[in-house]
């Protein structure tokens, strides 16, 4: 390992290397593993070309170290340092085929989608503000800067990254638009089909709807809300100009086919949902009036999920519960009064005892003083009398 030997120069390089290798460790593991796999699959002549490129970029020492250690890395006998790993990440993509290079870009999608999900996440939402919320998210998607991995920005050209981002933005905005449309359809279905049916039964009903994409619950109103027809008028598909155009077209086509599947599924989903609701309503209608029941039905909508809760309580049972609580309250009050009286009595008794004790003590002392004074007086009288007689 002469390449990594000490000395001041190497010490500085090690420090610098440690800082830079942090980037390598921060790269998603799937990307690292994929690049390493590609690196160790290079044919003999590809490896020669790679070593030349590597040597031109990082110097002859680095090239010799690579050639010497390649087999040991491959067998796992020697581990790859962070600095070397970073260099491999930067150089290997240039020796890959178009599809393999594109795969590296695709590894960035989960982190971008996760950031987008965080942007889209909302808390409980008023249904009247649905359009405003979706518009706000659309604006955020259009304007937000997504920081890509250092590795992507170092390996791919700006044009390629821009195209990648424009395709992602297009699919994200279209998904948002479709989600708004689906939620709007679900709400319309709820007010036109579900609420009418629920009014046929004599029970308390709680309706909830949660929008999948926003991952939040919508607060429903008593009357059907007026929701705008469209979120965004037209979202233009991005222009494909780089060498990856075919891959992007394939992605967009797959996306469109998925959307068609979702749209085709929609009428069936509504039909099944209504069927399930009817079954449950018919069941609860057959339960006798004096019985209590609670029923919950979850229905999958197009852009979210409905939850319907029907609850019926027996009036006589509720009246009895009120009576029970009233008796309990009366008992609590009674006990409280008794405890108050008890303590008040004890305190009063103690007070009077203290006063009586004090009075007794006072009278005792006064009596003793009076007795002593009387004795003193009598003694003086007797003494005076004795002197007079003598």
């Amino acid at each position: 390992m002469r390449y990594y030997q000490g000395g001041r120069y190497y010490y500085r390089r090690r420090r610098k290397r440690r800082r830079r290798s942090h980037n390598y460790n921060a790269t998603p593991s799937n990307t690292r593993q994929y690049v390493k796999k590609c690196f160790f699959s290079l044919s003999a002549w590809q490896l020669v070309a790679f070593a030349d490129y590597y040597g031109n970029k990082y110097g002859d020492n680095a090239r010799r170290y690579l050639q010497r250690t390649y087999e040991k890395w491959k067998s796992g006998e020697t581990g790859m340092s962070g600095e070397t790993g970073r260099r491999i990440l930067e150089c290997v993509p240039r020796f890959l085929g178009r599809e393999e290079q594109f795969q590296l870009l695709q590894f960035c999608i989960p982190s971008i989608l996760s950031k987008w999900k965080t942007l889209a996440k909302a808390r409980t939402q008023n249904i009247e503000e649905l359009h405003a919320t979706f518009s706000k998210i659309a604006k955020l998607i259009k304007e937000s800067d997504y920081e890509l991995e250092w590795f992507v920005t170092n390996v791919f050209s700006q044009e390629e990254i821009d195209e990648f981002m424009s395709v992602l933005r297009y699919t994200m905005l279209d998904t948002l638009n479709r989600s708004y449309y689906s939620v709007r359809e679900d709400i319309s279905f709820l007010y036109s089909n579900v609420i009418g049916k629920l009014s046929e039964i004599d029970a308390s009903v709680t309706l909830e709807y949660s929008a999948n994409l926003l991952d939040c619950r919508l607060q429903l109103t008593n009357t059907a809300p007026m929701l705008e027809d469209n979120l965004m008028q037209d979202i233009k598909p991005p222009d494909m100009v780089t060498k990856f155009d075919k891959e992007y077209r394939r992605i967009l086509l797959d996306y469109s086919i998925d959307c068609i599947k979702h749209d085709t599924h929609d009428p069936g989903r509504k039909h099944v949902g209504l069927y399930d609701l009817n079954s449950l309503l018919n069941t609860v209608k057959n339960i006798q009036d004096h019985n209590e029941y609670s029923a919950r039905l979850a229905i999958e909508g197009s852009g979210g999920d409905f939850s319907i809760r029907i609850e019926k309580k027996s009036k006589s049972k509720i009246a009895f519960e009120i009576f029970k609580r009233a008796v309990a309250l009366a008992l609590v009050l009674l006990v409280a009064v008794l405890v108050c009286i008890f303590f008040t009595t004890i305190v009063l008794a103690l007070w009077w005892l203290f006063i009586a004790g004090l009075f007794w003590l006072f009278s005792q002392l006064v009596g003793e003083i009076r007795d002593l004074s009387k004795e003193m007086k009598e003694y003086e009288q007797r003494r005076t009398k004795r002197f007079a007689e003598s």
Partner: protein
Amino acid sequence: MNNEEQKGLQKVEFYPNLPAGFDELSDHEKLEIVKRIQEQDLEVRKEVMKKIGKSKVAENDLYTAIGVIQQLDQEKKIYSQHHKGETGSGTYDLTVRGGDTKFIVPILVVIGVIILAVILLIALLKAN
């Protein structure tokens, strides 16, 4: 679509959601995609049929449950029945409580508590 457009032969768009790039594909590729969509369509239909099947099973389970409840009502028993299952579109959860409407047991318990409280009160007053 206005009235004027409805006259004569109209161009029918089978899959209006396809991206603009679809027209640039070769005939073979277009055919592949249309085939894929049709296969997907069949898959969706199959899935919907499965869901309908599940809903029918759930409906049947609910009918059976209501039969049991009606039977218990006839026998004037105190009961609490809980039924849970999967429907085609999601899940259901039904709990029914019924039976003795006179609530003899809880009433006796409450009366017992009141009597005990009164005894306690008298005992306390006497102690004072």
